[in-house]
């Protein structure tokens, strides 16, 4: 039995990792492809992205906002839109 690891994503606190993953997954599901993520969700997502193993590469010049777009095999995922106009997708699972 591993110890419970609490996770904090911006204003949100989760008692264990699984709750954080479920929260992000539910957030992703609320959006249609092509949507911009709203400001409230973006705060949580930005905190999550900072925990990504490749956070530095993903953030690059800096985050402007987030989108939900198509991913491989007909699924969807979060994309970070950087201030320099470039964009890259990331896995919310990798962030927690």
């Amino acid at each position: 039995m591993g110890a419970r690891k609490p996770v904090t994503l911006g204003p949100k606190h989760f008692d264990k990792k699984g709750d954080a993953v479920a929260y992000l997954k539910a957030m992703l599901r609320r959006y249609d492809v092509g949507d911009r993520v709203n400001a409230t969700d973006a705060v949580v997502l930005e905190a999550a992205l900072a925990r990504h193993p490749e956070a530095k590469e993903k953030i690059g010049m800096g985050v402007r906002d987030f989108s939900v777009r198509s991913a491989d095999f007909g699924s969807k995922c979060f994309w970070v839109n950087r201030i320099d106009g470039t964009t890259v997708k990331f896995s919310h699972r990798a962030c927690v």
Partner: protein, 630 residues
């Protein structure tokens, strides 16, 4: 003068608003007011023009009509009307029947059908055995029409390619250096504008071509021009020929003609098609060759007799079916569209009736009421009232979107109202943005669910969205085809090049240029209504509307300017590839070309496009539109 289809009259009227001023409206092929699905759109366009232009003169033209006065029945009271009934044939037409001699597959007898019977006129010896129906058409056309001016009617685009190919194999192969320069230029346009291996390329060098509606208009118009001039001697074509392409011929060859997807051609359409024979150059007679006239599969009702045919409005035809439309409308108010049967038959007329009801307050006030039973009209009024009571959409908005049901517009409005994630997400994203493709996917799904299942099946939505984005980005057809091939290769999916080319052309014409403008224009209109009602006018873009952008397949200022100057899209896109700036107005575009007038030939642009550039941008005469808005 503008030449427009019924859909584009509406689009035009929407864009110009109060400036929709018409002095004279000429409705050619007016019997098409009876066409399923589009007849009522035509009727609506005529009525709309008449409503906003009380002084307008209106002329209907239709061949071989039994009851031309029917078209005048809805003229406003006090307006002078006259039906001109003319029987005078302008050309002599020989109806020829070609039958295979039993036991001699290559030998065919030809007879002419007269009022009193048939008269044998000779036999045709084919060079090869016509093993398939396609071969019969091709070989008989090649044998009987070698003088040129020969049209072959094909049941579909794929057949037209096969027939053209077979005929071309029977023509002598020209020495590469002796190919006529105009034919060589057409081959070049097909190669660079579509694909290096497009089947048209080798055919035209032998004076043979095929022709169908989904081809880019510049290519189609050049084929028609070279057929008229006699350089293309054989042309295999489809029912597009009856949809407003005015092309005369010396001989037309037909076997079991179908219209659309396999429906036997109505006699009216057959004689409209046959009417192309004659008036070839300065000749006054033409031949119609009907192959296998006794074959009941090819000709289920025999070769149609020449006679006159009645005109009936689509709306009247649907109302004459009785309670079907009432039941449909009642269900349309309760259920989602995909659960209702008969949407193909009733949706367009139902939308027209509801819009009329909203404008007039009762169908009994509509012109068509006088042709139907008052009790039936009262039942129709009842069901329409219950529908109209559900609507926040007003009559003006409904009228702007003919063929789109106000009920669908209402459902969409409700979808917008219950949307919770910020109204910005409801708008299409600029095509240059990364969100654009995905946003269109979601919008198309939303349209399918609320407005009308225009982009079904669901498995095709992503493909449709991709085509729309490529088209709006101003990509050339050749580039869209190239990318489609690359995608097939990347995912290791097999493909058949001629089919892929035809399918891509069809996607551009049917989705990007027809469905997407129709339904996205309605989507945006309803969205703007919603944005105004929630105080978010700031999100409303005052730029060029999405319907017009899609019609022309352009989103940059430079491309729009080039097309405003009268260039076809194909030419505008080819030129735009050479122009760096995307914000040029018309004068700046003209100046760009004028500065480079001497270098145009060295730019690797097809000669036919260069010719159009010179005609439209460098000549001092008035530059009209390069193509009818077909």
């Amino acid at each position: 003068m503008l030449v427009l289809t019924q859909e584009r009259i509406h689009l035009f009227a929407n864009v110009v608003g109060d400036a929709f001023v018409v002095d004279l409206l000429i409705v050619d092929e007016a019997h098409k007011i009876g066409d399923k699905g589009r007849g009522v759109i035509l009727q609506d366009a005529i009525e709309r023009a008449a409503r906003t232009n009380p002084m307008m003169k209106l002329v209907f033209i239709s061949p071989a009509t039994q009851n031309p006065e029917e078209l005048l029945a809805d003229a406003p009271v006090g307006i002078k009307t006259v039906a001109v009934d003319s029987e005078a044939p302008t050309v002599l037409q020989n109806l020829l029947l070609a039958r295979q001699v039993p036991g001699k597959p290559r030998r065919w007898t030809v007879e002419t059908r007269q009022a009193e019977g048939t008269i044998p006129i000779g036999t045709l010896e084919l060079a090869n055995t016509p093993a398939s129906f396609i071969k019969r058409l091709a070989f008989i056309a090649a044998a009987a029409g070698e003088r040129g001016g020969t049209l072959v009617y094909a049941n579909g685009a794929a057949d037209s390619e096969d027939i053209g190919d077979l005929i071309s194999q029977l023509q002598p192969k020209p020495h590469p250096k002796s190919v006529d320069p105009e034919l060589a230029a057409l081959a070049e346009l097909a190669r660079k504008g579509v694909h290096p291996n497009f089947r048209l390329v080798p055919l035209v060098e032998r004076g043979v071509a095929f022709h169908f509606g989904n081809m880019p208009s510049l290519l189609r118009l050049e084929i028609e021009r070279l057929f008229r001039s006699g350089k293309i001697r054989f042309l295999a074509c489809t029912s597009t020929l009856m949809e407003g392409v005015n092309l005369s011929c010396r001989t037309i060859v037909v076997r079991g003609p179908r219209k659309g997807k396999g429906n036997p051609m109505e006699p009216h359409d057959f004689w409209n098609l046959a009417g192309r024979a004659g008036r070839w150059g300065d000749e006054f007679q033409g031949n119609i060759i009907c192959i296998d006239p006794n074959d009941t599969v090819a000709w289920p009702k025999g070769v149609p007799l020449r006679s006159r045919y009645p005109i009936k409005r689509e709306s009247d035809a649907v109302l004459d079916l009785g309670e079907g439309i009432v039941d449909y409308l009642a269900k349309r108010g309760r259920q989602t569209l995909s659960d209702i049967e008969g949407s193909e038959e009733f949706e367009q007329v139902g939308a027209y009736l509801l819009t009329s009801y909203m404008r007039l307050g009762s169908i009994s006030q509509a012109d068509l009421a006088k042709r139907h039973d008052p009790a039936f009209i009262a039942r129709l009024d009842d069901v329409l009232r219950s529908l109209a009571d559900q609507l926040d959409i007003d009559a003006d908005m409904a009228a702007r979107h003919p063929g789109v049901s106000a009920l669908g517009l209402q459902r969409l409005l409700e979808t917008f109202r219950s949307y919770e994630r910020g109204p910005e997400n409801l708008l299409p994203a600029e095509v240059a943005s990364d969100d654009s493709y995905d946003r269109f996917v979601t919008i198309m799904r939303r349209i399918n669910a609320s407005l009308f299942p225009a982009f079904e099946p669901e498995s095709r939505v992503k493909l449709y969205a991709l085509i729309v984005v490529q088209w709006l980005k101003g990509q050339s057809l050749a580039e869209i085809i190239r990318r489609n091939i690359a995608w097939h290769q990347e995912v290791k999916r097999s493909y058949h090049l001629p089919t892929l080319i035809r399918d891509t052309m069809a996607l551009v014409e049917q989705i990007a240029r027809f469905r997407a403008p129709k339904y996205l224009a309605a989507y945006i209109d309803v969205l703007h209504l919603h944005l105004r009602s929630i105080g978010r006018e700031d999100l409303i873009d005052q730029g060029l509307d999405i319907g017009t952008q899609l019609e022309f397949g352009v989103s940059s200022r430079t491309l729009i300017s080039l097309m405003e100057l009268g260039l076809s899209r194909m030419s505008a896109v080819a030129l735009y590839e050479k122009i760096a700036r995307d914000d040029l107005d018309q004068e700046e575009c003209r100046a760009w070309v004028a500065e480079r007038a001497d270098q145009l030939d060295g730019m690797d642009i097809p000669a036919i496009i260069i010719r159009e550039l010179r005609e439209r941008l460098l000549s001092t005469g008035g530059a009209g539109p390069a193509e009818p808005f077909d």
